[in-house]
């Protein structure tokens, strides 16, 4: 007992030192969330992507409307953020008042009691209009009817294709293609000048396995069955992975193991690939004529399917309030402000309508200016995000809520290791069957921990 306590203290001490140091260097001091008086300083820990930087540049409006509340941004990498927040919550230090949390972790942290239940604050505020949040996103952020976070922006996965190349080859694309149709088109379009399709091959649970899990699911497979029995070497899982690997080998981009979102985006914008199955947010970048050679030439359709009706994934970056926050009321106020309809108007009028965070609210897609600015991809994004089902994305019921991930702490480790094995299969160093047989053992070890 004593040892355990002491180790905890040492660990907590180190973690706190690290947080304090990173907090100071990141935001230039002022990490102390002053509870004294009525002036409140909120500390917001966030991932460092562009939409969050927009939020920081607009925080002045919130501070002006809410005198007495100041907001401090601490930006960090995703991995650092996770370590900082878990250490903060575990030690009860209460350094952070608002944190950005991915859809994968919200249900886990919510169930652990690390995040404040926002349901009462959201439902009691008619102006916030919680019913406007896209239903699948809301489902993915809730555990037992309690909503633990509010979505800042969300995305699904879609198939993007180069209309010019399709027309030149005399091919057409339906709005709901099947994987078999896509594979056939990819083989026709695979020429020395451009590859047929770009698919992620970089090992990682969020890289290779984001699209691959959706493929597996539409082929009837799943990571686990309803009793947490691993299904990685099941025939359906194997068939899905084999299909993906074969498609990469016959019509995919060269050097797939190097490629994830950014790499495929580059190849698409340079006109080196005919199709791409990836995050819907890519469309807004492909339509930007300053960086993309294919702006205006792209078509966007639903994620390809086989045995299920929909196969898009679901991801959102969210704002949540740690249970340890000492300024919870002000923190909730800020989280609501940053995900409100007014905030979207504010972004649109000050920064430009294409910068409005997508995929969180239904009403975003009825703003006339946004509809005009994002005409190429806004309708398909809304359509797909409303169509996906995070409760049961595959053929069979699953004991977790989420599409391209399993909401257990071990999943990122399992996903990563199996992705490395599958990457070996893509390179031809091993077969898919051998890789998945090893993956089954890894996945089962994690599944066993959920049973008890």
């Amino acid at each position: 007992m004593l040892v355990k306590k002491r180790a905890l203290l040492v660990g907590a001490g180190l973690a706190i030192t690290a947080i304090v140091l990173s907090g100071c260097s990141g935001a230039g001091g002022g990490a102390g969330a002053g509870a004294a008086g009525k002036d409140v300083t909120l500390t917001l820990a966030t991932v460092n992507n562009p939409q969050m930087k927009d939020m920081e540049s607009l925080k002045g409006t919130f501070e002006k409307d809410n005198p007495g509340i100041k907001v401090n941004f601490v930006q960090m990498e995703e991995g650092d953020l996770r370590a900082a927040v878990t250490a903060d919550v575990a030690s009860g230090a209460g350094q952070y008042d608002v944190v950005t949390v991915g859809a994968y972790e919200v249900p886990q942290w919510g169930a652990q009691g690390w995040l404040k239940d926002l349901t009462p604050a959201l439902t009691s505020d008619a102006a916030y209009d919680v019913g406007d949040i896209l239903p699948p996103v809301k489902t993915a952020l809730s555990v037992d009817g309690k909503q633990y976070a509010v979505p800042f922006y969300g995305e699904s996965s879609i198939l993007m294709y180069n209309k010019e190349m399709f027309a030149a080859a005399g091919l057409t694309m339906s709005n709901n293609p099947t994987w078999q149709e896509v594979a056939a088109a990819a083989k026709t379009l695979n020429t020395p000048e451009h590859a047929g399709i770009c698919l992620r091959g970089k090992p990682g649970w969020g890289d290779l396995f984001a699209p691959l899990t959706t493929v597996v699911q539409t082929f009837g497979g799943a990571w686990y069955d309803n009793n947490w029995k691993a299904q990685v070497n099941s025939p359906a899982f194997t068939e899905g992975v084999n299909f993906y690997v074969d498609l990469l080998k016959t019509a995919g981009e060269k050097d797939p193991v190097s490629n994830s979102f950014t790499e495929c985006l580059n190849q698409l914008s340079a006109g080196k690939v005919a199709m791409w199955y990836d995050a819907s947010v890519a469309a807004s970048i492909l339509e930007d004529p300053t960086t993309s050679k294919v702006a205006g030439k792209m078509g966007y359709v639903h994620a390809p399917v086989y045995k299920t009706k929909e196969s898009g994934w679901l991801w959102s970056w969210n704002l949540a309030v740690p249970a340890t926050s000492k300024n919870a009321d002000a923190a909730v106020k800020f989280a609501k402000w940053a995900t409100s309809k007014e905030y979207q108007q504010l972004v649109g009028t000050t920064l430009g309508w294409t910068r409005v965070p997508p995929g969180a609210r239904t009403s975003t897609y009825s703003i006339p200016e946004y509809k005009k600015a994002a005409a190429a991809f806004a309708p398909i994004t809304l359509e797909v995000m409303n169509a996906v089902n995070p409760v049961q994305p595959g053929l069979n019921p699953q004991p977790w809520v989420g599409i391209q991930y399993v909401t257990i702490p071990e999943f990122q480790d399992v996903g990563n290791q199996v992705a490395q094995l599958v990457a070996d299969a893509i390179a031809g160093r091993t077969t898919v069957e051998e890789a998945l047989a090893k993956g089954q053992v890894i996945a089962q070890a994690a599944g066993d921990k959920q049973k008890k």
């Binding site: 660990g11 970089k202 090992p203």
Partner: protein
């Protein structure tokens, strides 16, 4: 230690005479010893705090069951993490990858470093500039170097290496997919060749010209001079550069994290450790891997290198 012999013989403070002449001298000596120790203390304490305490903490962590996402279940579990290290499927393949990647990178960068050092060890116009340019790869930050190689050198569509291969009529190589180990070895070699070169160049420049002149007067050709005069002279420099290079390359992480992500035999111990700590979020297991890695590094540095370098020693020189 092999390393100690590298330090040139410094002038040491004369050792006090062994036979004490009286109590007064003995007391004075004792006092001087105490003073000396007191002066060393702050530095000693400082270095112990900075180097040994973190290591002890790591050892303590390695005996805990501690997953960052289950902070309520931290407990002491003796050597369970070590049993996972030695019985699990990760350790041996990872050790093999480490040996292969570090070993080939060290050998290659040593050979190339020697080659460039010999080239630079003569007077020519623009030698300073050439030397600075040669050192540059070592000054580039590892992560930046990995990105540079990933995007502008080895990229399958627009990379310079594949462009050169195409010029020669060879097909483009999908480096990360098909040759991950070679990719990492190329990058590490590129990065550490300048380091080896610098040390060996220092060695070459400390070689006395008269000896070389005498050798050539005696009729030794350039190759014989190099083999029998220069190489033995460089032995200590080769040892130290191999030792330091091995220690640094054992820790190589950035190219693996950025380019191959541990697939295809590139999951070295340092990358495995990162995976256990930041993806597995298992602090205890990561600490156990860390402790084992440190022990292996020490063993390699002190035992293997010493036997290895018997090769260079000419009959009875040491």
């Amino acid at each position: 230690m092999t390393t100690a012999s590298f330090a040139p013989d410094q002038e040491r403070t004369p050792v006090p005479p062994a036979e004490p002449e009286g109590t007064a001298t003995r007391l004075a000596l004792k006092k001087r010893g105490r003073q000396a120790r007191a002066l060393v203390m702050p530095a000693l304490i400082f270095s112990i705090v900075l180097t040994q305490v973190p290591f002890l903490v790591t050892i303590a962590f390695s005996m805990l069951q501690w997953n960052q996402l289950r902070p309520s279940e931290i407990k002491f579990n003796w050597f369970e993490n070590y049993s996972v290290v030695f019985t699990g499927p990760d350790f041996l393949p990872s050790l093999m990858s480490t040996v292969i990647i570090t070993g080939s990178s060290v050998v290659l960068s040593l050979l190339l470093g020697l080659f460039f050092a010999v080239l630079l060890d003569r007077k020519f116009l623009g030698r300073g500039l050439a030397r600075t340019l040669m050192i540059t790869p070592f000054l580039v930050m590892p992560a930046a170097a990995a990105l540079l190689w990933k995007w502008s050198m080895l990229d399958v569509n627009v990379g310079m290496v594949n462009w050169a291969l195409n010029l020669l009529g060879l097909p483009a190589v999908a480096w990360n997919t098909d040759l991950p180990v070679v990719t990492i070895v190329i990058l590490l070699t590129w990065q550490y060749t300048p380091f080896m070169m610098l040390i060996l160049l220092a060695g070459l420049q400390s070689q006395s010209r008269e000896v070389l002149e005498a050798a050539s007067v005696d009729g030794a050709g350039p190759w014989r001079t190099f083999q029998w005069m220069t190489l033995p002279h460089l032995r200590q420099y080769i040892e130290i550069s191999t030792l330091l290079g091995t220690i640094m390359m054992l820790q190589a992480f950035d190219p693996i994290a950025i380019m191959t992500k541990g697939t295809g035999g590139t999951k070295t111990l340092s990358y495995l450790l990162y995976e256990r700590a930041f993806i597995g979020l298992d602090v205890g297991q990561a600490a156990a891997f860390g402790v084992v890695t440190v022990i292996i590094t020490i063993a390699v540095a002190s035992i293997a290198l010493r036997t290895l370098f018997k090769v260079f020693i000419n009959g009875g020189e040491r």
